[in-house]
Amino acid sequence: MKLSEIRKILDARVVVGEDKLDLEIKTAFSADLMSDVLAFARAGCLLITGLSNPQAVRTAYALDIAAICVCRGKTLSAKFIEIARELKIPILVTDYIMFETSGRLFREGMTGCIREVAIEEKSRAQ
C-alpha cells in the first residue's frame, strides 16, 4: 500500500514527507509504549501511535520504521517535526482513534508486522 493511499484511507495530513508519497508499506504496528515498539515492531513497517513527542521519531529511526502515523489528532511540537525532517521519516496525522486507524488499514489489506507475540518469540529462539 502506498503512503498516498494510507493518507486517503485515514483522511490524514502529511506533516513531513510530501515527497515520499510513493513509498510502499505493507505492515503496521500500533502502540503508545515505545518499549513495546522497540521489542516487537519490524523494519519497514508503519508505526501507528498516539505518542506525540520526539521519542516516537527516535524509536522509529532505531528500527528503520518506514513512516509514522500519529492518531487521535495529536498536535506535534516543532521539535517532533524538526527531528522527523532530519531523520527523513514521513509523518502523517489522523483524527481517528488508534482502533479506527488500525481497522481501516487492515480492511484495505494491511497486516500487522508480527501477528502474535508468542509465535514470534519461538521463531526468534530458533
Partner: protein, 161 residues
C-alpha cells in the same frame, strides 16, 4: 567497574555523556551510535539491535540516574554497548529484569516509557549481556551483539556521528 576492550582491536568507538532528567534529547545517543555504524559493513539487523539496546539504556540513565556515559565499540567479531551511571542503583536485578517491573514516574510515562520492558528488551537483543548494580552508587551494563565470521571493517571509517 569498567573493563573496556584493548584499543588495538577497536575499529570504531564513541563515548556519550548523559544527564539525568534531561528528557529533551532522549534518544539522541541511540541515533548517533546508529549513524556511526552505518556504511561500515555492519549488517543492518545488527545495527538495529544495537540501536534498540542503546536506546533503552539511554532512557534508563536519563530516567534513573544523575549522570552516566554510554560507549560503543566496533570490534572484529562484535559490537559492544557499555554503560555506567551514578544513579540510585537497582536493589533487585532479577526483579528488574522481569517484563513489567517498573518504578517509572509520570514524567517517564509521558515520554512513552515505563512499561518495564527495557532491560528485558536489552537482554533479548543481546548475544551477551551483563549488568552489575550497587544500590546508592550506580549501575554498569555491558551488552554485545555478535557479527558473523565474514565481517571485515570497511576502510571508510570517517565519523559521521
Amino acid at each position: 567497574m569498567k573493563k573496556s576492550p584493548a584499543p588495538s582491536e577497536v575499529y570504531l568507538e564513541g563515548v556519550f555523556q548523559l544527564r539525568g532528567r534531561d528528557f529533551v534529547d532522549a534518544g539522541l545517543v541511540s541515533s548517533r551510535i546508529k549513524n556511526s555504524l552505518k556504511n561500515k559493513g555492519v549488517p543492518e539487523d545488527t545495527i538495529r539491535k544495537i540501536a534498540v539496546i542503546a536506546f533503552e539504556t539511554e532512557i534508563n540513565i536519563i530516567s534513573y540516574a544523575k549522570e552516566g556515559t554510554i560507549s560503543f565499540y566496533l570490534l572484529p567479531d562484535r559490537v559492544v554497548i557499555e554503560a555506567e551511571d551514578s544513579g540510585e542503583g537497582i536493589e533487585n536485578i532479577e526483579m528488574a529484569l522481569q517484563e513489567g517491573f517498573s518504578t517509572a514516574d509520570d514524567s517517564i510515562r509521558e515520554m512513552g516509557f515505563g512499561a518495564g520492558m527495557g532491560l528485558p528488551n536489552i537482554r533479548k537483543f543481546s548475544d551477551d549481556f551483563e549488568i552489575v548494580s550497587e544500590p546508592g552508587r550506580g549501575t554498569y551494563l555491558k551488552s554485545s551483539v555478535m557479527l558473523n565470521g565474514n565481517y571485515r571493517a570497511k576502510d571508510d571509517q570517517d565519523d559521521n556521528a
